[in-house]
Point group: C2
């Protein structure tokens, strides 16, 4: 039954064409190759200007489809909706970005369309999020053409994007035609961080990747989401389907504070139709938060949105069962690999256990978060 | 009964001595005075380098004790534990910071000790958090002398500090003797943000104070708390009583992600005795989050700490009733004033309603958060 599938909607790939580009470069983002003292190839991925620990060791997990399928098999994942990992095309000039986006969308379609089908259901095991050439100086026509391309490729069911848009963030009105086209095409937009915040914030001590990843990434998602809310994008495109990485970062916990700060600023408040908390109920959030209390809370915040619709007379408590319907399992593969060769990855086990132990979610709610919600959102059974 | 009091532990003052200093300055932080077209005095407070909206209008609410008491009466607040507002003494040279800290601690003691007592209980209506001269080049002796001064002033029950320490943050080992002294004196440390994060993060559009306040402040608190955890301060000073502003910012929602990122970095993990989530159970958090779901979640996160103690065999679900005992009502007065002259301040009403509507808190738990917990933590009945 499709509603019982385990579907991973937060799982990345560096397609071979993209990995080759990164290998050809010597400034961030790039892959640096060297040979270890015992003669092995050592490839390191550097994607940030202040990359800690000399870069991240990378290997076939990052580009090889067989590795993705093996990882899925090991964890009982039936279907993955795969996305290119950050920083996407952000660093390229406009003409190159347009061509590469188009080529990578075709590559990803092939990656998915030639993947095996499930044993018991006529559903492929791989689907994808396409890419838009979101870089400065790109034309709106180029962006709209790429939206059209993605919507025509049968295994691409959405697109992933970072937070910079065409250089002015996602609250940039020049993107309005793009949102309109995405909304009309019914594509899911997966919003994912890359830049974090100013690394000076992490202090002088070496804490490896811990703080940029644990805090910087969620802060970036929070900021871009708050900015999008403030610019009223959901008032203009109410059917837009946005999926936020890492359970929305810190947005759920700061949403009432955000609403209160907006309320106290009449200029900002006048731009919005509803209390800021209303818009959170329109989001989809992955369930990549590593703890059951976090997931339960996020589902509370989604479900309470009705209380905050302008003119609402709803006063009921949050209903986290209802909220669970907009949450979707993810692994963040191939990131967070285990430190030693274990049967299963701790990061995946933690996220599955978290879903399984949320107080107030019924077995059906948990099935939904594990995969049923993704089957509906991405129309995987069609 | 002392356990039924309404106690505000997050309420600020710019003592007259401090306000006078700010008026004498012409760079941030300062108070700029001008005269409006109809001849009225217009005082604006500028505390940030990129202050939006030409500064914040300020008046007697910020320094006059009668205004504090009137505000308390209007909202039924019995007792307030008052703290100097940001940016404290951060901008002063060491010698001036030491003298001013000492003078302001005496001023605040007088502000409290000459305040009225409650009608039915022999408890003063005002208590205070003192100040340390935490600036670069201050000597440890000066800091320790000031801890001693505060602990001798009978109405000061703790101290407030920002996030920069003596210029190297709060994970700076040179502060260890200060933590030891504070722990020994049983003073509560109220950690409060001021700097936020790099304002470039807020994009190009003018959203007033909304984003620096709604997101920047909590991010700063989250970062400094994470850094303190990473440096193992609670492993070395397990009885230290730390109170985090704004319900810990985003730390609760990002704590499992933080724990996972630490787990995946053996160098960082090896510095800590416990899973990062354990340390959150040692914190006190104000209940200044403006929504009941937020407060319930924060109490979940506090209460689950036992699961994450090294070697723990606890597997129980979070117990938010237990977690509520480390949460304390606050208003953030005189900030977030109402836009129009209303009977009560919306920001205060929201925080009280949030406490009142948390699912899973008993009436006794709610009394605790409203005041009973503060009576115990600050020994107000003694």
């Amino acid at each position: 039954m499709a509603s019982k599938l385990l579907v991973d909607i937060h799982t990345h790939v560096y397609l071979p064409r993209y990995a080759a580009l990164l290998r050809s470069r010597s400034t961030v983002p790039f892959i640096r190759s060297s040979t270890t003292s015992d003669g092995k190839l050592d490839e390191r991925l550097l994607i940030l200007d202040h990359e800690p620990s000399g870069g991240r060791p990378v290997g076939p997990q990052y580009w090889d489809r067989e590795e993705k399928l093996k990882f899925m098999d090991k964890h009982g994942i039936d279907v993955s909706v795969v996305s290119t990992a950050n920083p996407w095309l952000d660093f390229l000039p406009a003409s190159q970005a347009h061509t590469l986006a188009s080529e990578m969308n075709e590559d990803l379609e092939e990656y998915c369309s030639t993947s095996p089908t499930l044993q018991n259901l006529p559903i492929r095991r791989l689907f994808g999020f396409g890419l838009l050439p979101l870089v400065p100086e790109i034309t709106t026509t180029s962006l709209l053409d790429t939206v059209k391309q993605i919507s025509r490729l049968p295994h691409l069911r959405g697109l992933i994007m970072g937070t910079r848009g065409v250089g002015k963030g996602l609250d940039d009105e020049s993107l309005d035609p793009v949102w309109a086209a995405i909304e009309a095409a019914g594509l899911v937009v997966f919003i994912h961080p890359h830049y974090g915040v100013d690394p000076k914030a992490w202090g002088d001590k070496d804490n490896g990747h811990v703080l940029p990843l644990a805090l910087g990434f969620p802060f970036e998602t929070t900021i871009v989401s708050a900015l999008r809310h403030l610019c009223g994008v959901f008032d203009r495109y109410p059917s837009l389907r946005l999926l936020l990485a890492h359970s929305g970062g810190a947005l759920p916990q700061l949403s009432s504070r955000l609403a209160s700060c907006i309320d106290h600023d009449p200029v900002v408040a006048s731009r919005l139709k509803h209390d800021a908390r209303y818009y959170l109920g329109k989001l989809y959030l992955d369930a990549v938060a590593y703890g059951p209390e976090e997931l339960g809370f996020v589902s509370d915040v989604i479900s309470r949105a009705g209380r905050y619709q302008a003119g609402s007379s709803v006063t009921e408590a949050a209903n986290r069962s209802l909220g669970s319907r907009r949450m979707l399992f993810g692994t963040d593969h191939p990131f967070f690999p285990p430190l030693s060769a274990t049967e299963k990855w701790t990061s995946v086990v933690e996220n599955l256990e978290a879903i399984d132990t949320v107080q107030g979610w019924s077995p059906a709610d948990k099935d939904g978060v594990r995969g049923g919600n993704a089957v509906s959102l991405f129309n995987l059974a069609e």
